[in-house]
């Protein structure tokens, strides 16, 4: 357990509105990740961070931005939500042994 919390856990929003999801960790881990999970696709990497203010794109980054102003928080922003961004979003951090540990997830519905 890497002490990861995600907020909100559930959100319903409308197309075109901005949405920010928060990931908070208590283990002082350097690396943090955002994934989305969709049926038939497993988990796909959106963005990741390798330190404060250091971020990079993943496989499915279009339409998403991230920020990390302090070690414990990694924010994912949908600037203008679309229905294709309806998904379950997971945050992860890397603990000992290069193993990723996952948060509980956020269910996002874009109407």
């Amino acid at each position: 357990d890497a002490g990861i919390t995600q907020s909100p856990r559930h959100k319903v929003t409308e197309t075109g509105t901005p949405v920010t999801l928060r990931c908070h960790q208590t283990e002082n881990h350097r690396y943090m990740y955002w994934y989305r999970q969709d049926p038939g696709h497993g988990l796909r990497l959106i963005h990741y961070s390798y330190g404060v203010k250091d971020t990079d794109k993943g496989e499915v980054s279009d339409g998403y931005s991230v920020s990390r102003s302090k070690t414990e928080d990694f924010l994912l922003t949908l600037e203008s939500a679309t229905s294709s961004q309806t998904s379950v979003y997971f945050c992860a951090t890397v603990g000992g042994g290069e193993t990723q540990y996952f948060g509980p997830g956020t269910r996002l519905l874009v109407l």
């Binding site: 497993g42 990079d56 193993t99």
Partner: protein, 115 residues
């Protein structure tokens, strides 16, 4: 590019029966391999991992997996399934890309356990 294939979308077994979930990967170097389990509405929990050494690795909940380099496989096994094992199982390969080690996941195998 790396990839992971889980050929079985859905598997049904009876409680007490043995289980094998298949995973094939494509990666140019020595892989880091993982199996995760996800119960409904939950996050992913690590079952086991392989980095190097003994190719048969033991995990939590009585699971084991065997790394076979010649077959590019990392199949998950359990000798006797319990009803609580019903969940979705994900295989993943770890690789260095950009500025961090990343995971590429398979699409998952849904396990149903019959009483």
């Amino acid at each position: 590019a790396q990839s992971v294939t889980q050929p079985d979308i859905h598997i049904t077994v009876s409680e007490g029966a043995s289980l094998e979930l298949r995973c094939n990967y494509s990666y140019g170097a020595t892989p880091y391999l993982f199996w995760y389990v996800q119960s409904p509405g939950q996050g992913l929990q690590l079952l086991l991992k392989y980095f190097s050494g003994d190719t048969l690795v033991q995990g939590i909940k009585g699971f084991e997996a065997e790394f076979k380099r010649s077959q590019s496989s990392f199949n998950l096994r359990k000798p006797s399934v319990h009803w609580s094992d019903a969940a979705e199982y994900f295989c993943a390969v770890g690789h260095l890309s950009g500025s961090a080690r990343q995971l590429t996941f398979g699409s998952g195998t849904q396990l149903t356990v019959l009483p």
